[in-house]
């Protein structure tokens, strides 16, 4: 006899089964749709934003991401447990769908059965093992949630309900299978194609034929009922993530990474800027809140949260969600989230980068900051307001006279574009490298590297303004745009062909944010630029061994994925990098992003000291970084951590400049 089984064995395939089953199913799907529509109404309270361009590609990409569980398994063990469960569930879902397809369609209508023979054997063993793996995955997640991390993971009735329901569905599935097999398959070779079912069958064999049949019918209906409960509960429990996260992958921000929405400031119709009420957010922002499953990955990585500041990216999303889905969703978002939480963000993007649900935290925080700054004139402290005013007057937040911006370059043999517009690159210096003695050393190092490679460097000197990044991230879009427009006008007027920056904040801003305001010039980060010069042989370096650890700044790293070029440069210079535990996309912020460079860190412990301590754990003598803000924070941090004797913060350009082989000496 060909290997197969009778679908609806024992339950019966008559109207008494099909009618209640399909009525139940229709009812359950009805509730699902109703629940979904209710939530859809809430999403639609948000402002429009286009997230369906290039829809097919979005769907393809999202499907791949979801099927690969690519984001979930970035945190390995819990991720793999979820992956195991997910992949198994997919198999079980396909299996169930095949059964429905055969029993209620192809067989019923056309007498076509495909669940037979070898295909049935594969079908059977696949489902059997999937059920087991799903149980194991679920068990692992259960152990993690309720035993290993009971104190750190927040667990509510929602989690208990989900664990319980899924466990029961899987268990009843095996009971049904076991009961059926005990009666029909025990002792046949086919039973080995359902090994787990066989275990259940052997365990239940003693019940006897009638008892097994009664148990089978009862469990079958109970199992069906559980599945209906599952369907119904999707919109009302965290099960909704099955739909919302999958959708969120489709609706993802397709970059450029970390580019903020540019506000149209001159529009006289606009009465409100930034977000303070739900309607100020986009529908995607509201949808995001429904995708959160509170896995805490964001919170675990948040530099503010882990240094005891009142910000948890997860809580921000949760707060917004609670407002959105409250009966009257008109609560003040800023009051709900809390000012201190909003101001604490360094926009390091660790949250957004790791989020398996594709939630965009940073943009929401900046939108609320925009409301505080543009509508209320509020800042995290007077020192920030002073920096804003200083920028208005002198084009830098340090309050230095604008006319001395180019003074650092005296006697270096480089000219301003006003003096000599024909150059290979425009070096966009940035405020810190222009005015801060420590960072001027970096600027001078970079210039000497360029000169050794025969690159003709020009600067804007007093015509350069702050790129506006810290102001923008603090919410001051108006000041940002006025700085940006002046810079863009100047750069365009000189017909610059290529811009190189030594500041990742300048880089990210010019390369991404300035595009909305009309900058078209190529922008390159100095680490990439120098790496190309070295690779092409234009720049030659001595190999002079040293050991160091390397800090990936948030804006070269997570924002731009520039991880390899700096490491290649260090290796060329003879450096051996001992990585910190948290490196590359997992790197920990220095504390100064998001405009926090302008603000006093009043709450919790110091982020920069924490990062310096991580560097000391790598047991290297030098902490190499690539960002003026990071360097400044680490110079303070090594003092704060009391390790200024043993750990020296340096910029990568300084290390390289010490190892230049001058063209004349190349022989």
């Amino acid at each position: 006899m060909e290997a197969t089984r009778e679908i609806y064995w024992n339950v019966g395939h008559g109207w008494t089964t099909l009618v209640p089953m399909y009525l139940l199913t229709i009812a359950a799907i009805g509730v699902l749709v109703y629940g979904g529509m209710q939530r859809l109404k809430v999403y639609r309270l948000g402002k429009p934003i286009d997230r369906t361009d290039d829809l097919w590609q979005r769907i393809v990409d999202a499907t791949v991401t979801v099927l690969r569980q690519a984001k979930v398994i970035r945190v390995r063990w819990p991720g793999l447990a979820h992956g195991a469960f997910f992949w198994s569930f997919v198999v079980l879902f396909i299996g169930t769908a095949l059964i429905v397809l055969q029993a209620d369609f192809t067989d019923l209508l056309f007498d076509i059965k495909f669940l037979k023979g070898t295909f049935y054997k594969i079908f059977s063993i696949s489902l059997d093992i999937a059920g087991l793996v799903a149980l194991l995955g679920l068990g692992a997640l259960f152990v993690r949630r309720y035993l290993l991390q009971a104190s750190t993971l927040e667990s509510t009735w929602n989690d208990a309900f989900m664990h319980g329901l899924l466990f029961l569905i899987l268990l009843t599935g095996f009971v049904i299978e076991g009961a059926r097999m005990a009666v029909t398959e025990l002792g046949t070779p086919l039973s080995y194609w359902s090994p787990v079912g066989l275990v259940f069958a052997k365990a239940m064999a003693g019940i006897g034929g009638t008892g097994l049949q009664q148990l089978h019918v009862f469990t079958w209906w109970f199992h069906l009922l559980l599945v209906m409960v599952f369907i119904i509960s999707i919109p009302f429990t965290k099960f909704r993530h099955i739909v919302t996260i999958a959708a969120n992958m489709v609706l993802a921000d397709r970059g450029p990474i970390g580019k903020l929405q540019t506000i149209e400031l001159e529009n006289e119709e606009t009465e409100n800027f930034g977000a303070v009420h739900l309607a100020d957010l986009t529908w995607k922002d509201i949808f995001d809140t429904d995708a959160c499953i509170k896995c805490q990955r964001c919170q675990d990585r948040c530099p503010a949260y882990t240094t005891d500041k009142p910000l948890s990216p997860m809580k921000v999303i949760d707060d917004l969600g609670r407002v959105a889905f409250s009966p009257v969703p008109d609560a003040n978002l800023i009051e709900t989230v809390g000012r201190d939480a909003l101001w604490s963000c360094t926009t390091c993007r660790a949250c957004q980068d790791i989020c398996p649900a594709g939630i965009e935290h940073v943009g929401k925080i900046v939108e609320m900051r925009r409301n505080l700054v543009l509508m209320e004139g509020e800042f995290p402290g007077d020192e920030v307001m002073t920096a804003m005013e200083a920028t208005e007057v002198n084009g830098n937040p340090l309050g230095m006279g604008y006319a001395s911006r180019g003074d650092w370059a005296e006697n270096l043999g480089i000219k301003t574009l006003a003096e000599e517009p024909e150059v290979d690159i425009l070096y966009f210096v940035g405020c810190y490298a222009s005015f801060d003695k420590r960072n001027i050393a970096v600027a001078r190092s970079f210039v000497s590297l360029c000169q050794a490679a025969g690159i003709k460097v020009g600067i804007l000197g007093k015509e350069e303004k702050c790129c506006g990044e810290p102001m923008r991230k603090m919410g001051n879009e108006y000041l940002y745009q006025s700085q940006a427009m002046e810079n863009i006008e100047t750069i365009k007027a000189y017909g610059v062909k290529k811009i190189v920056t030594t500041c990742p904040h300048c880089y990210n801003t010019l390369e991404k944010d300035y595009r909305d305001l009309g900058l078209e010039t190529e922008v390159v980060s100095y680490v990439v630029f120098l790496e190309q010069l070295v690779a092409s042989g234009r720049l030659q370096l001595k190999t002079d061994g040293f050991s160091c650890t390397y800090h990936d700044s948030c804006y070269l790293g997570r924002h731009n994925g520039i991880y390899q070029p700096p490491r290649a440069l260090i290796a060329r210079a003879g450096g051996v990098v001992t990585e910190m535990a948290r490196n590359r996309d997992q790197a920990f912020c220095c504390s100064a992003g998001g405009g926090r460079i302008l603000a006093e860190e009043k709450m919790g412990s110091r982020i920069n000291i924490k990062r310096v301590q991580m560097a000391t754990e790598a047991k290297a003598a030098v902490l190499v970084s690539n960002c003026p803000f990071c360097l400044t924070m680490f110079e303070d941090g090594v003092k704060g951590a009391g390790v200024e004797e043993s750990l020296r913060p340096r910029d990568i350009a300084e290390i390289l400049a010490e190892r230049i082989v001058q063209p004349a000496a190349r022989g």
């Binding site: 209320e376 007077d382 002198n394 309050g399």
Partner: protein
Amino acid sequence: MNILVCIKQVPDMESKFNVNGEGSWYDSADLAWRMNEYDEYAVEQAVQLKEQAGGDLTVLCIGPERVKETMKKALAMGCDRGVHVADDDSFKKDPFSIASIIAEHAKVKSYDVIFTGMQSQDRGSAQVGVLAAETLGIPSVTTIVGFVFEGGKITVKRELEGGVKAVVKLPVPALVTCQLGLNTPRYPTLPNIMKAKKKEMLTVPVAELLKTSAVQETKTIYFPEKKGGGLILEGDIGELADKLIKILKDKTAVLA
């Protein structure tokens, strides 16, 4: 309530200063301009008073075309209208002339309260407010760090030396000059910046308001000898202390 606030545009003190060709004032090249710090306190207090008591708030500024930028900030902070006394030579005007111009403008406007900064950051004469009040014949208080308007009367705190403040009451009309510590000037909101662009800005040629002549003039302006000029002291601890004390006595007033 009819309120006037008088402001001045000054160079940012971090600017690179140079002496002009005639040696009579600083050169205006390479300077970044901003509102005189003390006038920011004056504007803030004036706006707060207007918000409390209602009425109309005029901001007055004397100077060349560029001062309008600074006036816009005052308008964005909440002033209702601007009076720009156009004068390309305002930097040459002595405190008496400036005060006369303000008084000439104010005498027909019946302002209830006039606010000025306690002094300008560039000239630092600390005279204009008092001279204008004396010319107008209204009471004035200088260096205020507290301001309350209640029952038609002003109560101010006047900063004295050593952290002591005098509490003083005076009737309106009156003039007060504002000092650091009075308030924290607000940061203009974006809608207010936009509105400010449309507010009334009346330009009056200085000749219409200047009816007096100067009582003093700048003979020369120059850079002082470097105070210590990055002097580096090294050597025996005791001698170093003596040397430093002598320098502090010579160059600063703190050991006097």
